[in-house]
Symmetry: C2
Subunit: 152 residues, 2 copies
Amino acid sequence: MPKKFMKAERIEHGTLIDHILAGMAFDVLRVLGLSNDRGMSILINSHSRKGGKKDILKIEDVELSGEEANRVALISPQATINIIVEGKVVRKFKAEAPKVVRGILTCSNPNCISRQNEPVTSEFRLSPDAGHRYVCAYCERDIIDLAKRVRS
Amino acid sequence: MPKKFMKAERIEHGTLIDHILAGMAFDVLRVLGLSNDRGMSILINSHSRKGGKKDILKIEDVELSGEEANRVALISPQATINIIVEGKVVRKFKAEAPKVVRGILTCSNPNCISRQNEPVTSEFRLSPDAGHRYVCAYCERDIIDLAKRVRS
């Protein structure tokens, strides 16, 4: 196989998001509102050195903010964010799933007050148990299929 | 930057689609009906050695058929298909835009007979001029925004 097929492009400036849950990279792009007008490398179901599979995203010329990292953590709580400047990782942090989420998620309950065109901002709380579950502050429903409930 | 960030995974068996029009890789995935349940590397707006930008797709454990290559050529006529077996390119061919396309595209004219729930299969002909244009065999309308008119 010619060498050119074996490497993704090194980026000089941007963000690398590692340890995305396998198969979730497209959802991460969607919740970040990123489109295909910039340089990106996307690895889907890549073999992790720790065993298992993961997705990896490399986005050129974008430095993810803390708020954006939280959006990633919502749907992929193990992700790590690497900010790259001049070809080097200058900052590395773990995305942290926020304890309270306002306005980003839509409740899966169609009868919830937050979905009645009332001036009510959706609000969810991270469940204190070990699972990565968000519960609606109004109707107490668990969010099902988190990735699909994130507004883009 | 740690070395692990610089390379995409080499694949032992699968297909590499090179020279995809820049920004069209997601559309190529869609027209091929590929989902995120397999290993893939996607490079968007990658720098081409010939200058300009292109997308590259590497799909694990899939050998694209001629019909699938034609689907790719419909929306990205310059693409090249490389079939990889045991880590080596065993077959390389240029996707060829088909002269006649039946059933894959939907006409952009809502009044076209092919869109009236009649037992009529859509049919388009590649325009003989230099541009990459497809014209409806029924209403003679040009297909506008080809990628969006391909049925998935």
